[in-house]
Symmetry: C2
Amino acid sequence: MGALDLAGARMQFGRNAEVFGEGEPAEFVYKVISGAVRSVKLLSDGRRQIGAFHLPGDWFGVEADEEHRFSAEAVSDSLILVVKRSALTAMATRDGEVARTLWSITARDLGRAQEHMLLLGRRSALERVATFLLDMQARSPAGMTVELPMSRYDIADYLGLTIETVSRTLTLLEGRGLIDLVSARRIAVKSLPALRRLDS
Amino acid sequence: MGALDLAGARMQFGRNAEVFGEGEPAEFVYKVISGAVRSVKLLSDGRRQIGAFHLPGDWFGVEADEEHRFSAEAVSDSLILVVKRSALTAMATRDGEVARTLWSITARDLGRAQEHMLLLGRRSALERVATFLLDMQARSPAGMTVELPMSRYDIADYLGLTIETVSRTLTLLEGRGLIDLVSARRIAVKSLPALRRLDS
DNA sequence: CGGGATATTGATTGATTTCAATGTGAGTGG
DNA sequence: CCACTCACATTGAAATCAATCAATATCCCG
């Protein structure tokens, strides 16, 4: 994905700062350099659905449409690469490879959304949390210790659960010896296979 | 979307016939001419998640990747336009507009998946069913009478509910005077605004 | 006119939410 | 350096909504 990295500015966003809002013109595309970003939709009654977490290396905010379908907020202090979209679409009309890359990013997002859909369908709290931990582990730099940049509240809104249920489920997994709750934001995976067995 | 319609064959699929399977090479792309198609993922324990219903005019099975991420099955007897994918991607490398169209289809799928994600998140059965009815109404040819090509079982697996809950919720909506259950597969919407109020 | 699949309705159970209280930990100011 | 505080997290008890188990009912379709 080299081509897209060109001509971008690096911007710092503080914890909870909004990168862009739902419905805003999709003037830029973004890439996480460090930190973490969440894609958020808010319902009228205040309920919140987090569509995805974006970790270092992930592109986000890439739309085929003219406006952003989600808001994006920094989960923790984050460094973000910001690239002007018009430059890209102009390139895409000339350069087939750029066009193909943009399509791939959208397709990858679609894959993620579909997986997430599956997760939110008829799955128990235990399955949801297990799947979430496996995903975070797989996307973590390395090792069996996972650093969670997000709060329980974020996790709950991502999994379609309450913070209490997330908390209880983590405690349950610890009780079964599958994980170790080193601290609230740091979880050591003791048995990947056992977690995978919960992931159906 | 004219360009994509070229060079396709029309194929008939009977009720419940598989159009393609999850993991199969994505050799063709498809468009519903008449009937209805469901995108399906199966979990190991038999639970099923329906990712989308495709109605006449909808493209489906368009992948950026080399294989299909869902299975597709005819909900009712359906006439499907089948277009060789290699022809398209070849066109896409030469013709920027075709590339752009393919991207748009994927982006539209993404939008649908994201909406569906929202639906499957923390929403009550009443909200899910109301949203489903509104969506079907909006996609229906015209009028306030919606023909449902799919079974309660399909609806349940689409909404992440059981058939009993779907059935009870429809009965509840009828009791409240928002809809009329003309027959199992035909629902008359009596009050669009009232349904919308349930859609948060 | 059956007959089997599909749908509705009823009773009960159970998982998750809700309400409520307590615990923990990071950052701040005395 | 320690106590304080506020946000975040855990734990407990009760309520609730949907799932499950079970029994009809209805509708196509042959």
